[in-house]
Structure formats: C-alpha cells, structure tokens
Symmetry: C2
C-alpha cells in the first residue's frame, strides 16, 4: 500500500554514487529514499512535502537524522525550507542535475528518453572537446589507459570481456586524459548515463565490430596527437548515439504519426 521505505529497509546493493562510500547508514538510506521519492514526484502533488515530525515517524528515525538528510538534499537543490512554511520540493530547474546522485536517481527511477537525449546532447559537446585536449596533453600513462580500454573492447568483440564496462572505460579514460578538472567531473555522470544509454538503446546484441573500430580510430588520433581528428571522430561517434536515441524518442512520442505523415 505504501511502497516507500520503512525503517527496516536493508536494500543491500549500494555500490553507486558518491554517497556510497559509507555502507549502511541510516541518514544515507533516508537520503537515497527521499531523493528517489522526490525526483519521481511523490511529493509534488497536493499535500507537498511532509513536516519534519511526520517524516521522522514515517522512517522511524529521530528528527536530528531527518534534518541532516533534508539538509543534504537541500545542498543538492532538491528541497527548501522555512519556519512556519515547512519544507518543499524546489522546482525542477533548481535541481542540481550535474550532481551524480541526482542524475542517477533520475535515470534509475524516472527514466525518460527526453532526459537521455539532452544528456547525450551535452556529451556531444563535451567529449569531442575532451578528446581534442587529450590528443594534445595526455601523459603516457593516460594514453596507456585509453589503449587498454580499446584492447578490452576488442576482446569484448570476441566475447572475452564485458562490452558495457569496456566501452565505459574508454570514454572515462579519454575524459581523464583531458587534464581538465571539469571534464573529469563529468566522468561519473557519463559513467552513470552510459550504463543506461547503452542498455536502453541497446543494439548490444553482439558488439558491432564497426563500433569498436570507430573507437579505435579515436584512440589512434589521440596517440598521434591529432587533436582535430580526435575531436571530429568523437563527435561522429556520439552523434550516432544521439541519432539512435532521438529516433527512439520520436517513435515513442508519436507512434501513430510515423505512418500517417
């Protein structure tokens, strides 16, 4: 009847986001649960967000803990609070979408092709830039990491490694090799999003060797120090992913209009 987490929630698979550092922590569990509840809109309707005492009763936790959890969500832009006025869910455009936790909650629990499209649009801008930078200033160690990821992708095409994680490893390695802290920040975001992007748009019935070669060409350009080529190739690669998702989005939005027009 009420699917939100009672105090006994011991959901045991916490290897994700930055909060995951601590394992089983009451505050942490409440932040997770509240975060998901908020992004899925459970508190957007009438009634809004409960008052502290109600929340505490609901989770069977003390008000102190609840307040700490609420403060963390406030820091991520999801909540706001004022005396007498209570606590409320901030409008979506104030949510800190670039916070790994927030993005993960959204993708995991409120997946939408629209959101994924927008994210890939951003990747389309960011990753070519990172690849170009990497081509210029990657250290030998960073280059080695990129090469290693490519090797893994090739191995995956022979069913000797995992295609998903090796693909992610490649993109992450390029971001790290950019030497730019902001690109590196996007690492975790892109890691999260890729995990969904690839699985949803799938076409992962057997890794297409062509795709692996596309990746390898980017790697080669970076190794050769050819920034322009690296950027351009990366752009093409991601544009393909974007086309795929946008196709799916259009099909979902107007499935009957496809044939009628």
């Amino acid at each position: 009847m009420d699917d939100s987490a009672p105090s006994g929630s011991k959901s045991g698979h916490r290897k994700d986001g930055q909060l995951a550092a601590w394992g089983s922590n009451l505050t942490y569990n409440i932040v997770q649960d509240l975060g998901i509840a908020i992004v899925t809109g459970r508190y957007s309707g009438p009634g809004g967000f409960p008052v502290e005492s109600e929340l505490a009763k609901h989770y069977g936790a003390s008000r102190s803990i609840l307040r700490e959890a609420v403060k963390m969500l406030t820091a991520k832009g999801l909540l706001g609070a004022r005396p007498r006025q209570g606590t409320w869910v901030e409008p979506e455009d104030r949510w800190n979408l670039l916070d790994p936790d927030v993005l993960r909650w959204l993708l995991e629990r409120k997946f939408s092709l629209r959101l994924l499209t927008e994210f890939i649009e951003m990747r389309l801008a960011v990753e070519p830039g990172a690849a170009a930078l990497a081509a210029r200033i990657a250290t030998p160690a960073q280059k080695a990491k990129i090469v290693h990821a490519i090797d893994r992708m090739i191995a995956a095409s022979r069913n000797e490694d995992d295609p998903l994680t090796s693909d992610i490893a490649f993109h992450v390695a390029v971001l790290e090799a950019s030497g730019n802290r902001f690109y590196m920040q996007l690492r975790e975001l892109i890691e999260t999003a890729l995990r969904f992007s690839i699985r949803r748009t799938n076409d992962y019935k057997g890794v297409r060797l062509a795709s692996v070669m596309d990746h390898k060409r980017i790697c080669d350009a970076i190794l050769a120090g050819d920034a322009d080529a690296a950027g351009a190739l990366m752009r093409v690669l991601i544009q393909e992913a974007l086309d795929l998702v946008q196709g799916a989005e259009r099909a979902t939005l107007a499935p009957e209009q496809v044939s009628s027009t």
Copy 2:
C-alpha cells in the same frame, strides 16, 4: 590571529549561490565559512579537520547545527566522516566542481588562472553546442531575450548600460534558449565564472565595439536558425577569451622565460 568567522559574523552581502535563498541563517553561514576554509586548504595540512566538538566550540554553535553544515558539505563532496576516524577533507578530485557553491568558493577565494582556463575550455565545448541548439529550437520569447541582451550590450558600448551584466545576460540567454536542462544547469556556473573571467582578463577599459558585433553576429545566426554558423561563431568568440587567459597564465607561470627563449 584567527581569521575564521566567530559566531558573531554578520556578513551581510549574500546575494550569490543557491544557498543564498535564505538570508541570515546560522547553518548557512557556517557552510559558507567552512566551504571557503576547506577549498583554501586551511584544513589540508597536518591536524586535518577538527572534531565536531572543537568545531562547535569554534563557531559557538551547537553540535546539531555543525553536523547539519558538515552534512551539506559532505553532499557536495568536500568532506567525509566516520566514527572514531573523525571528519576529513576529501581529495580535490572528489569535490563537486560543478556545484555552484563549490565553484564560487574556488573562484572567489582560491582564484587561479589554471582553474579559469579549464573552465573556459569547457565553455569552449559547451556554449557552441548550446548556440547551435538554440538556433534550432529557441522559442520566440527566448529569442527576444537574446536580442534584448544584445541591445543592452550595444547600449553598454555607449555607456548606457553595464557591460559586464549585459554580456553575462547574453550568454545566459543562449544557454536558456538551448532547451537543454544540462546546459541550463551550467547557467549559474557560467554566470559566476564570467563575473571573474571578464574582470580578471579585463580588457574592459571601454567595451570594444568589435566584441559587441561578434556577439550580435551569433544572435543573428540564432535568429536565422543557422545552427552551424551560430556554433562556429560562438566557438571563435570563446576561443578568443581562452587565448587571452592562456596568455596571462603563461606570462604568470614563467615570466622570466618569456624573453629568454
């Protein structure tokens, strides 16, 4: 002797970041002060981060409040904590650089041309993408906002408006017109960074009319729906800013080598 904020700090100019919503709030003030102290490295040396009781004594606040502040900073990736082990400052690469507060603390209190360079590198990737998107799907209202910003810039070139805020308004308007939530998230970041970028690299001794025209051409391309041109023009514009800052960075890093090579 001790320049950190005692309890009586009533610094009254809080019109910035997302935390600023509330005005004078003890928890908020402590978060600000601690955040700045952390990014400036006050707790990075030996001794590390104080234990809760010490912090509480230092700020003259209760432990509850201190814990809430620490939790907010934890949510932004600056701190970690464990029983018996105490609270510690996370390594810089785990800080949430894309959080408006964190970036602002860094730029305001630990400004470095290197950081600014990296940020502009990201803008160089992002804003052309946003401009291209805007050219495709901006609504009339969004286009009007861009035009209005250009008008303000033109007025500023005649000393009839503020050059800094009108310039910022233009870039923000483009980001908003992209219709992409992730670009819009960067709005606040770019707003913050521009405020420093422009002032530091200045060349703001009189607005150069040429620069205004460069902006106007982007605006025209967006109005005309020419995505490629809008993106390319924006790229050129930001590349110029990047060159400027990188020039300053090189001059600072090796001022004596400039002439010797």
